[in-house]
Structures are given as structure tokens and as C-alpha cells.
């Protein structure tokens, strides 16, 4: 049986009826057409689907949309404010933190969470904070530098 849910995504409220088995990532991509959040592994391991739910970085492939009823979700599409890139987005741009870009939306959300909890992280703390996000291209070095750039910037 479908359930009525109401989720605020990137500042916009959405009221939708969903099957309880619909994953949050499919809700964002298929119901709201917010395809910036990627599906990589579907098995809770790669972090490509990371979004902020009530300020916490979570893997949206491991949450049912019904669990997010009443919550505030921020996806990569909602990170820039008034046309200004989020410092982490700018860092990825300036420090070349991506190659194919598949992992990038999840990386950026996870990095935003690191800086929110610890504005001045060491390299080690950045790497530890990105443990839940896999990148098959960059070798991570530029990603870490992008986060350091963002920390200096904000």
C-alpha cells in the first residue's frame, strides 16, 4: 500500500505517494528528477548516493523514502547558495578533485559533513571522514586537497 510522504528537498517541500519499498535515492532520482545523486554499488558501500538528511550525511540507497518523511534533505543540487558554489564544490573545481565525476556528488556531500563537524581537519581526518566514499579514478589525493582548499576558504 502506498504511503503519503512529505519531504523538504533543497528547500522545496514535496508531497508524494510512494511504495514503502522505494529507496530514498530512487525517490530523489525518479520521482523528483534530481539525478545529481548517483547510484553506484546499491549495496551501501560506495557512498555515491550520499545526501544530507536533517544535516547528517547518509547513504540514500540504504534508507526507505518513507523513513525520510518529514525530514529536510539536501542533495548536491541544493548545496550552492544564491548562485555561489559551496566551498567544497569550489575546492573540487580549483584542485581538480574529480575525473569521471561519478563519485563526486557523494564525495562533496560527505566532505561538507566533515567540515561542518570539524572546520580544520588534518589530512588524516579528511581521509577518515571520506572512508565511506569510493573513487575509482583519482587516487583520492586531489579530493583531499580539494577539501583542504575548502577548509581554508570557509
Amino acid at each position: 500500500m502506498k504511503k503519503a510522504i512529505s519531504i523538504n528537498v533543497n528547500g522545496t517541500p514535496h508531497n508524494t505517494e510512494v511504495e514503502p519499498r522505494m529507496l530514498l535515492v530512487h525517490y530523489l532520482r525518479d520521482a523528483l528528477a534530481l539525478t545529481g545523486t548517483h547510484v553506484g554499488c546499491e549495496t551501501s558501500l560506495c557512498g555515491a548516493c550520499t545526501v544530507l538528511m536533517d544535516g547528517q550525511a547518509v547513504k540514500s540507497c540504504t534508507i526507505f523514502a518513507v523513513q525520510a518523511d518529514g525530514s529536510q534533505v539536501t542533495t548536491i543540487e541544493g548545496l550552492a547558495q544564491n548562485g555561489e558554489l559551496h566551498p567544497v564544490q569550489e575546492g573540487f573545481w580549483e584542485r581538480h578533485g574529480l575525473q569521471c565525476g561519478y563519485c563526486t556528488p557523494g564525495m562533496i556531500i560527505a566532505a561538507a559533513q566533515i567540515l561542518e563537524r570539524n572546520p580544520n581537519p588534518s589530512q588524516e581526518e579528511i581521509r577518515h571522514g571520506l572512508e565511506g566514499n569510493l573513487c575509482r579514478c583519482t587516487g583520492y589525493q586531489h579530493i583531499v586537497e580539494a577539501v583542504e582548499y575548502a577548509a581554508k576558504k570557509s
Binding site: M1, K3, E19, P20, R21, L23, E42, T43, S44, L45, G47, T50, Q56, A57, V58, K59, C61, T62, I63, F64, V66, Q67, D69, A110, Q113, I114, G129, E131, G132, N133
Partner: protein, 287 residues
């Protein structure tokens, strides 16, 4: 990777959740953080026809102190425990264990109650909960009961919770003065779960000798266990290198060790010994 269809309810109170669970216990499952259950449902290893989401019950996520006990609500996330400044001060084993679980996203959503109730043989919490000699408070249709950690873990993925019981709270005795604690694990590099995980909770007397030692070990066997031969080899003795090394040699005594692609039973037993030694040393270095 889509689960079979199911119905979903999110009761507002624990009583309501207990009533629903009692009524539907054969086909229903409780949903806490979902970070063990949802992966299993996606693989269709679990196919409950009803999910009872306990994530919307008020006041199931907390860390408080009551008399000489620390009380932790079942829905408290790994991250909330990891980030608790008070726990770092009074019972560092809890935040250390929490910080070793999975990754940031998993710790933001997964709960201590869900992990304990799931009783994965490679989960981290069972080792700490055993070493702390904690008590579990379970609520069922017949009311509430207390289960000691020693009696809680029954077998792989099996606890002594009845099918109609909900784990509500975990109670940890406040560590006394001169208590040394540490958690160390060898993480499976792909999953992050414990190949072995060692939780140490010991007290040193004024004479410098070990007064009591509790060692909880996870990852090695079908269920986490107290390494009682290590504990008795430490108790009453000086905490010097030789005593610790000799005690640690008993880390897997009498244990039927797991074997998988990543670690054979022999290798697990070896890791249990080495990491028991290191974890005890790490703990007493903090005294």
C-alpha cells in the same frame, strides 16, 4: 536490488510498537537504523511483510547517567556515542568502539540497539557490551525484563530477545577509578566489519596489580564472547609485558573459530592473541 513489497508503520510510542510486534511477530520486523536490515531486504535474504519503524518513537535516543549506571537508549546512533564528550571522559570504550564502526554515513544512521539485536558475529558492539558487563532492558507484551550481556548473545544472528520483545535500553556500570579501557579491531578491508575486535575493561588496584579484567572478543566465533582464561590470567597479577603476553595467549581458548575467504580459523586465532595483547597494552598506557 529492490526488496519485496511490504507494509510500513511508524508507531509514535514504545507501547504501540510492542503491541504491533506482538500482533504481527511472525511476519513483521522492527526497523531501527536499517543498516543491517535494508541490505538484507535488498538481497531478499529478509522478506518481512510488515516493517515497524521504531525511529519515530520519541525518547529512544539518549545517553544519561542514573546512579552508578550509564543508560543508552536503543535508538542512539553510533555517531552520537562516538561524539559524546561525557562518554569519552567516563567510559572511553564506548566512543572508541563506536568510532571503529563502518564509515561516517553508517555511524550517522546505524544504532547501538539495532546492532546488538542483530548480533552479527563480526559486529563491534557485542565485544564492548560484554567487556562492560552491561545489561539490556527488553520490553515485550508481558512487560519489561533485564538481560545480562553474558546471556544476551546466543549464536550467530541470534540473541535471547523473544520475537515479541524490543530492546529499549542498554545499561552500563560506571567504570570506577583506575579503570583502563580500549577497543582495537582488525577491519575487513572491504566491509569494515571486525575480522577480530577486542574490548578491554580492566581495573588496576592501588598495589599496581590488576584487580579485575573483562575482555570481550568479536569476529572470531559465531558469537562474541568473554575471554575468561585471559581474564583470570590477569586478575591479581602485575600488569607487566610477560603477564600480558602469557594471558593473551588464551584469547581463543575453547573457541570454534570462523573461517572465510579473508581469514582462516588459525589466522583469526592468531589475530585474537596479538590484538588482545595490544589492546590490553593500549588500555593500560592510558592509566
Amino acid at each position: 536490488m529492490i526488496p519485496v513489497q511490504f507494509d510500513y508503520v511508524a508507531p509514535a510510542t514504545l507501547d504501540e510498537a510492542a503491541r504491533l510486534l506482538a500482533e504481527h511477530q511472525d511476519e513483521a520486523k522492527l526497523l531501527a537504523g536499517g543498516h543491517s536490515l535494508i541490505p538484507a531486504m535488498k538481497l531478499r535474504l529478509a522478506q518481512p511483510s510488515l516493517l515497524i519503524d521504531i525511529g519515530r518513537i520519541k525518547d529512544l535516543a539518549y545517553i544519561t547517567e542514573e546512579g552508578d549506571q550509564i543508560r543508552i537508549g536503543a535508538m542512539t546512533t553510533h555517531y552520537q556515542i562516538e561524539a559524546s564528550e561525557r562518554l569519552k571522559e567516563i567510559c572511553p570504550l564506548l566512543p572508541e568502539c563506536a568510532a571503529s564502526i563502518g564509515d561516517v554515513q553508517v555511524r550517522n544512521k546505524g544504532t547501538i540497539g539495532g546492532s546488538l539485536a542483530h548480533a552479527d558475529p563480526a559486529a563491534d558492539w557485542p565485544a564492548a557490551i560484554l567487556a562492560l558487563d552491561a545489561e539490556m532492558i527488553a520490553v515485550g507484551a508481558q512487560g519489561e525484563r533485564t538481560i545480562r550481556a553474558q546471556d544476551f548473545f546466543v549464536d550467530m544472528l541470534t540473541t535471547s530477545l523473544e520475537p515479541n520483545e524490543i530492546l529499549r535500553e542498554i545499561r552500563v556500570p560506571q567504570p570506577q577509578k583506575n579503570t583502563a579501557q580500549a577497543y582495537m579491531k582488525v577491519a575487513q578491508p572491504a566491509s569494515g566489519f571486525a575480522v577480530v575486535g577486542i574490548a578491554v575493561n580492566l581495573t588496576r588496584g592501588d598495589d599496581g596489580r590488576c584487580q579485575s579484567a573483562n575482555i570481550g572478543i568479536t569476529g572470531v566465533a559465531a558469537k562474541a564472547y568473554r575471554a575468561s582464561n585471559v581474564e583470570s590470567a590477569l586478575a591479581g597479577n602485575a600488569l607487566d609485558e610477560q603477564t600480558i603476553a602469557a594471558a593473551a595467549a588464551h584469547a581463543a581458548d575453547g573457541v570454534d573459530a570462523n573461517s572465510d575467504l579473508y581469514a582462516s580459523a588459525d589466522y583469526r586465532r592468531h589475530l585474537a592473541e596479538v590484538y588482545t595483547r595490544r589492546a590490553i597494552q593500549k588500555a593500560i598506557a592510558k592509566l
